[in-house]
């Protein structure tokens, strides 16, 4: 078992290194950062000097070695644009992204499970068919379009909710939160729906399919025969057994919610890490881009690692094969 974990850990490190190298090499083609930093009539000598002080004249391999060396020590360099350590910038933006991801996941879970259960229990009703149709829209419309539509409806036409930003935030230590203010809550609604919609559809369809499956099983039939109430059968017995795969999927999706919040954050000008990344791409701010990609890779790698380990704990058959392999 220990050997298995060690091997998986080593693999994870390899993945991170590869991501770092590929990302770093690609950014060399993103353009020239210096021209993004200065005015158009900045003298050439000044540009040269900036280029040198940023270390852009060194060969790519030297730059990467320097970068990787720093990264291992937890230093990701300074943003060209903001002149601040990238780690500080990411840490400042992280609460926004995490709170948004959390709300989006909660929304996806609650709405997805409710809608899934409903459409499984009343699968021939008009409402269930409507929900199915809505869920199709949810998967097929691109995120930015959904965001813009929501903004148009709830901000421009109805004037209920803000179209951008995080509202007022409260600082608790190094963490800023929008959970403690009214405007913070209002600002969370539209982006959470936009970001969570795809996952919600996924969960709804999963719950519906699983629930239908479970409802056909023998123990439900026996439960009915024993004269239990419908409510207790549906929610006490059926739903509980439906939720196992749902939780697995939701856990796995959390990584992608964080990583793919880029689009939602751009549409809603949500001051999180994804927006920081998009701005960095436009300005060729290589240190931010590299650190963000590494962070996302780290999130995915850790989640996958955790899932792998959990599976071996949960499923005895896997444990056996692991032992044999080791």
């Amino acid at each position: 078992m220990l050997a298995f974990i060690l091997r998986r850990l080593l693999q994870s490190v390899g993945v991170l290194l590869a991501v770092g190298l590929i990302a770093f090499a690609m950014f060399r083609f993103a353009g020239d950062p210096v021209n993004q930093l200065v005015a158009p009539d900045t003298p050439y000598a000044e540009r040269l000097q900036i280029r040198q002080s940023l270390g852009l004249d060194d060969p790519v391999l030297v730059q990467f070695a320097r970068y990787a060396g720093n990264a291992v020590r937890g230093q990701f360099g300074n943003s060209y644009q903001f002149r601040q350590p990238v780690s500080t910038l990411l840490a400042e933006r992280m609460p926004a992204t995490l709170e948004l991801a959390l709300c989006a996941t909660l929304f996806a879970l609650t709405a997805g499970i409710l809608m899934g259960v409903y459409s499984a229990l009343h699968r021939h009703s008009a409402a269930a068919k409507l929900l199915q149709a809505i869920s199709l829209i949810g998967v097929s419309l691109p995120t930015f379009l959904i965001g813009i539509l929501l903004i148009f409806l709830f901000s421009v036409t109805l004037g209920w909710l803000p179209s951008y930003g995080r509202g007022d935030t409260v600082r608790i230590g190094w963490w800023t939160t929008g959970f403690l203010t009214v405007s913070g809550w209002k600002a969370l609604i539209l982006p959470s729906i936009t970001l969570g919609l795809f996952q919600m559809t996924l969960i709804m369809r999963l719950v519906r399919a699983e629930m239908l499956e479970v409802l056909r099983t023998d123990y439900i039939r026996f439960a009915r025969a024993r004269g239990l109430t419908t409510r207790s059968i549906h929610f006490g017995h059926a739903l509980k057994n439906t939720l196992v795969p749902v939780i697995t999927v939701a856990g796995l999706q959390l990584g992608s919610i964080i990583a793919f919040s880029i689009i939602t954050e751009t549409v809603f000008q949500w001051p999180g890490m994804g927006l920081l990344f998009v701005q960095a791409v436009q300005n060729v701010d290589v240190p931010i881009m590299a650190a963000y990609l590494l962070l996302v890779a780290l999130i995915f790698v850790s989640i996958n690692l955790a899932v792998d380990l959990l599976y071996t704990i949960v499923d005895p058959r896997l444990r056996l094969s692991v032992r044999r392999a080791a």
Binding site: D41, P43, R47, V156, W160, L161, Y164, T266, Q269, L276
Partner: protein, 536 residues
């Protein structure tokens, strides 16, 4: 199963809706707050870090300059009450008394001398705003002399972007040196301000939000009735427009062309258009022996003045303004915007004439045209790529096959600017930062032949005429305004006769402004907070 079960969900939804509606009815705060959003960030509060229009304007709310520009861009007194030139190489500034910095320290001649040194120190992006050869001499606490080596009629022209900082404050916070764009740590001055202006900055989160508050100790009278102004970046075009339409922000820049009519027909906001100073133009490589990416080998068609004229004649600028720019541009005859040159009215744009263009090409030995790539940015100027596409099809009509290379500015500028100069034919926009023709005659039309001189750094195609250079040198020193204007006219006449460049148009600034707000659209695209008033 009865539908009764679904009721709690519905009730929940109804409650949420009611809650949202109730929340939005909450009263606005009592202070008069002006909210504004720009597509880019306010990256540094150090006024010498970045010479960029929006940044300069935002800093202008908290910092002030000796000489400033009024609503028509005329030079007017700022922190200097008045100035005179007792001799051609000496400017004497009489400084305003009773001016206080935001931290309470009084403003004196020492601060001017300190700022003059700081702005020209390495790392400042504003080095050219103060003449390099100038020395500043303190006469008394409220009088400063600027002594020059040569007479310089435009010495004051760029003072508007040179804001005065407090010496004592900089010493106290270890901010004596300007924060360079390549700085690895944020200096105190990059995150805090201490100006003399009508507003102070109370909160600054780089890239997210900046809060301005009225400064009660301001020396002058302020037109604005704003107590507080909140700046946010909104990068996404659609979101920016939505925020304006929903009344969440009072000013946005820019409003994309395709959204302008929608904004103007809305209940809350209008689009304010005014001609901008930037001139969009095309340049051609006129010195290489062979064009890059052309099918003409062994020679350079652009060396032939007839080919350059043919290109000029083949472009229907009126159609570009009408179709591509939707009327939000003014055709240009010169490389300088008319408000910046009194004799601009004497120049006419040569007429669109595709037949003559064809004849000229045939005369020059290209009866069937030739092939040339056109370098073009796609995220820098208003509809830049669409302009280039239009030009491509217009040139196709006279037989020239243009291969359009459109790319993001980050790649574009690396390709075409010094040192690569990797372009045969390109589109660029230019605003002379001095607001004077000399800048153009030096940077854009100046010969690049002398490698040791920065002359012509932005003359990417190396258009070269020694007569223009000779005139530019005289224009730099001539203090007689009329004679100087005549020389400038002469220089532009030569450039036009050479068909050295193809000016296209001045794009229009496009601000989205709430109907509750009154402000001043200045042609340099700077929105000054102290001219903003808002109905509550």
């Amino acid at each position: 199963m009865s539908p009764v079960k679904f009721r709690p969900l519905l009730a929940c939804l109804a409650a949420a809706t009611a809650l949202a509606a109730g929340l939005s009815a909450a009263p606005a705060s009592a202070a008069n707050t002006f909210r504004f959003a720009f597509q880019g960030d306010l990256k540094s509060l150090d006024p010498y870090t970045l010479k960029e229009t929006f940044t300069i304007a935002a800093h202008g709310a908290v910092y002030e300059s000796l000489v400033t520009r009024d609503k028509d861009l005329k030079l007017v007194p700022g922190l200097a009450e008045s100035w005179e030139t007792p001799e051609p190489t000496r400017y004497r500034f009489r400084l305003r008394k009773n001016v206080k910095f935001h931290d309470g320290t009084p403003f004196t001649a020492d601060d001017v001398i300190f700022s003059a040194e700081r702005v020209r120190a390495p790392g400042s992006n504003f080095q050219t705003n103060v003449p390099a050869d100038a020395t500043f001499v303190k006469v008394d606490d409220h009088t400063v002399d600027m002594v020059l080596k040569n007479p310089n009629p435009i010495a004051l022209y760029q003072f508007g972007g040179w804001y005065i900082m407090s010496k004592a404050w900089a010493e106290k916070h270890d901010a004596l040196k300007p924060t360079p764009v390549s700085a690895s740590t944020p200096s105190y001055a990059a995150l805090h301000e201490n100006g003399t202006g009508p507003f102070t900055i109370t909160e600054h989160q780089p890239g997210v939000r900046t809060v301005f508050k009225k400064f009660d100790g301001y020396w002058g009278k302020v037109e604005s009735n704003i107590d507080e102004a909140i700046f946010t970046t909104i990068g996404n075009d659609a979101t920016r427009v939505a925020a304006l339409l929903s009344g969440e922000v009072d000013w946005v820049d820019p409003v994309p062309l395709q959204d302008q009519s929608r904004v103007s027909s809305s209940a809350n906001a209008v689009v304010v258009n005014a001609p901008e100073l930037r001139t969009i133009y095309l340049g051609m490589d006129q010195t290489s022996d062979e064009l890059r990416g052309s099918n003409v080998k062994g020679k350079n068609p652009f060396k032939d003045v007839r080919v350059r004229e043919a290109f000029f004649r083949a472009i229907d600028e009126d159609a570009i303004v009408k179709r591509v720019m939707r009327g939000q541009a003014t055709p240009a005859a010169l490389l300088i915007a008319p408000p910046l040159f009194p004799l601009a009215g004497e120049f006419k744009r040569p007429a669109y004439d595709p037949n003559k263009a064809k004849a000229l090409l045939a005369e020059a030995g290209y009866p069937n045209g030739f092939e040339v790539p056109l370098d073009c940015p796609n995220d820098r100027y208003v509809n830049d790529e669409a302009i280039c596409q239009a030009i491509t099809s217009m040139l196709a009509r006279v037989g020239v096959k243009v291969n359009l290379i459109a790319q993001p500015k980050a790649k574009y500028f690396a390709k075409i600017l010094k040192p690569a100069y990797d372009t045969s034919f390109y589109l660029l926009g230019w605003t002379p930062s001095s607001m004077d023709s000399h800048n153009i005659l030096y940077e854009i039309t100046g010969c690049r032949n002398d490698k040791s001189s920065p002359r012509g750094t932005t003359n990417l195609g190396n258009y070269c005429n020694p007569k223009v250079d000779a005139l530019a040198d005289k224009i730099e020193r001539e203090t007689d305004q009329e004679a100087r204007n005549l020389m400038i006219k002469q220089a532009y006449d030569i450039v036009m006769a050479d068909w050295g460049y193809i000016p296209l148009h001045q794009q229009a600034l496009a601000w989205g402004v709430s109907k509750k707000v009154k402000l001043v659209p200045r042609a340099d695209n700077q929105m000054m907070l102290y001219w903003v008033s808002k109905e509550q």
